[in-house]
């Protein structure tokens, strides 16, 4: 079970009126049964936000002894190098991977393919056809997510993170039709994201969506014991989880 944290201009971004304080989150994440953390920089159009984001990543990596994937605005091998040096284990790329898939290959050759997570945002369009969206979900692309996922794997991606734009933030459950479209065409792990709101959603993400791992973004819905309880629930449904 992966916890996804979105950082805006150096602070944890939440959709409710919480006081933004990422140290609070670090303390929580460390004591939870979380298996992995993904930190995404979702700052738009601020020049000095990078340094703030790097500081957040450094703080997390020094305090959380679980795997850390980091992304948001990664466009070059230099960005890979910078983020790995400050404690990231894997790098998440989205828009740049789509526009310049050679970067996937270069990064995989330099850091190993397990280091390269290609994140795909997808949305249902006309005639129920899914399309890839880049640039924070604002730009529709020509490829369907399953073709792009396959292509990304061929370029050397180590994992695919698939997010349903339609379901993200709804708490209605994952888009498992979308998820299984992806997991059926690739042999690398698929992390399913967007929409989880109850424990059964995690089970469905694995069983129906055939994800290798399930992501949750709305961390404020969970208290210390509820991640553990969610995992116990999954275990009872015969899913292998770390308790």
């Amino acid at each position: 079970m992966i916890t996804v944290l979105t950082i805006n201009d150096g602070v944890l971004f939440r959709t409710r009126d919480f006081i933004p304080d990422y140290r609070y989150t670090i303390n929580f994440v460390d004591s939870w049964s979380v298996d992995e953390i993904i930190i995404l920089d979702i700052t738009r159009g601020k020049d000095n936000s990078k340094e703030k984001f790097y500081k957040v990543v450094e703080d997390f990596s020094a305090n959380c002894f679980v795997p850390l994937s980091v992304g948001g605005g990664v466009t070059s091998l230099d960005d890979f190098s910078k983020l790995l040096n400050i404690g990231a284990d894997k790098i998440v790329i989205n828009t740049e991977a789509y526009e310049n898939p050679e970067l996937i290959t270069q990064a995989a050759e330099k850091y190993g393919s397990q280091c390269v997570v290609v994140s795909i945002d997808a949305k249902i369009t006309e005639n129920d056809i899914y399309k890839v969206f880049t640039n924070f979900g604002s730009k529709m692309r020509s490829l369907e997510p399953q073709s792009w996922a396959k292509k990304a794997q061929d370029y050397g991606a180590g994992e695919i993170m698939i997010t349903s734009i339609d379901k993200d933030g709804t708490l209605e459950g994952y888009d498992n039709k979308l998820n299984s479209l992806i997991s059926n065409v690739v042999t690398i792990p698929v992390l399913v994201s967007g929409g989880a709101g109850k424990w059964q959603d995690f089970v469905d993400g694995i069983k129906i969506g055939k994800g290798s791992a399930v992501c949750t973004t709305n961390i404020y819905h969970f208290t210390e014991s509820s991640i553990l309880n969610a995992k116990k629930y999954m275990k009872n449904k015969n899913i292998e989880v770390r308790i």
């Binding site: 298996d35 450094e58 990596s61 020094a62 305090n63 002894f65 679980v66 795997p67 850390l68 790995l84 040096n85 400050i86 404690g87 990231a88 284990d89 894997k90 050759e109 330099k110 850091y111 190993g112 393919s113 397990q114 280091c115 180590g158 994992e159 042999t187 690398i188 792990p189 290798s212 791992a213 770390r242």
Partner: protein, 205 residues
């Protein structure tokens, strides 16, 4: 106790550093040979490709000094993931490459006979103790550790194997060979018991 994390430009140095700091060791990240010489114990971390790792060690002029410190002077070293693989004689990752050759082993890709098996092997998995080791002090049976790799180490000398894992095939999860210990999993990413393994290394007399 002075611990040096060998900085050769690849890997999650920050989290290893954080882990040792949390345990309470005096730790530095360095590729300065005199500093490495002065430390009591070494850590060779690593994430990345084998050839780049060797190339980088070579460029930094670290291969001979490491040989002197580890093989001749028997300084304790803990090698992690790619660090573990670099200790081997050679690897087939992206072509054939020579390794440090500190252990009698080679590196091979996880063989995907089983179509269900996804490569790279990423996630929490078993560490099955096959031999007692000081690294396993206070590590319960069936503890899970975090793995991220596409390649694995094949030891010619079976006596050094202390832990195994199963993922499509049985592969070596940990070794202890005199002053050298190494794990394919990432102790610095394996929460409580990962830190315990590192603590065992640091506290070993």
């Amino acid at each position: 106790m002075k611990i040096s994390i060998i900085d050769y430009g690849l890997g999650n140095l920050r989290s290893v550093y954080g882990a040792i700091e949390r345990i309470g060791g005096e730790v530095s990240i360095t590729n300065d040979i005199s500093e490495l010489k002065q430390s009591d114990k070494l850590i060779l971390p690593g994430v990345g490709a084998f050839a780049d790792g060797m190339e980088s060690l070579k460029k930094l002029g670290l291969i001979e000094p490491l040989k002197e410190l580890i093989i001749e002077q028997k300084k304790p070293i803990f090698a992690i993931c790619l660090g573990f693989q670099l200790l081997a004689k050679e690897s087939s990752e992206f072509g054939a490459h020579k390794g440090l050759g500190f252990i009698d082993a080679i590196v091979r890709k996880i063989n995907r006979n089983d179509k269900q098996i996804i490569i790279p092997h990423v996630g929490w998995n078993d560490m099955i103790k096959v031999q007692d080791s000081y690294l396993w002090k206070e590590i319960p049976k069936d503890t899970l550790f975090y793995y991220v790799h596409s390649y694995h180490v094949v030891c010619n000398n079976k006596r050094i194997i202390i832990g195994k894992c199963h993922y499509g095939i049985d592969f070596i999860s940990a070794i202890e060979d005199k002053n050298i210990v190494a794990t394919q999993f990432h102790p610095e990413k394996s929460q409580y018991f990962g830190l315990q393994v590192l603590k065992n290394f640091i506290e070993k007399k």
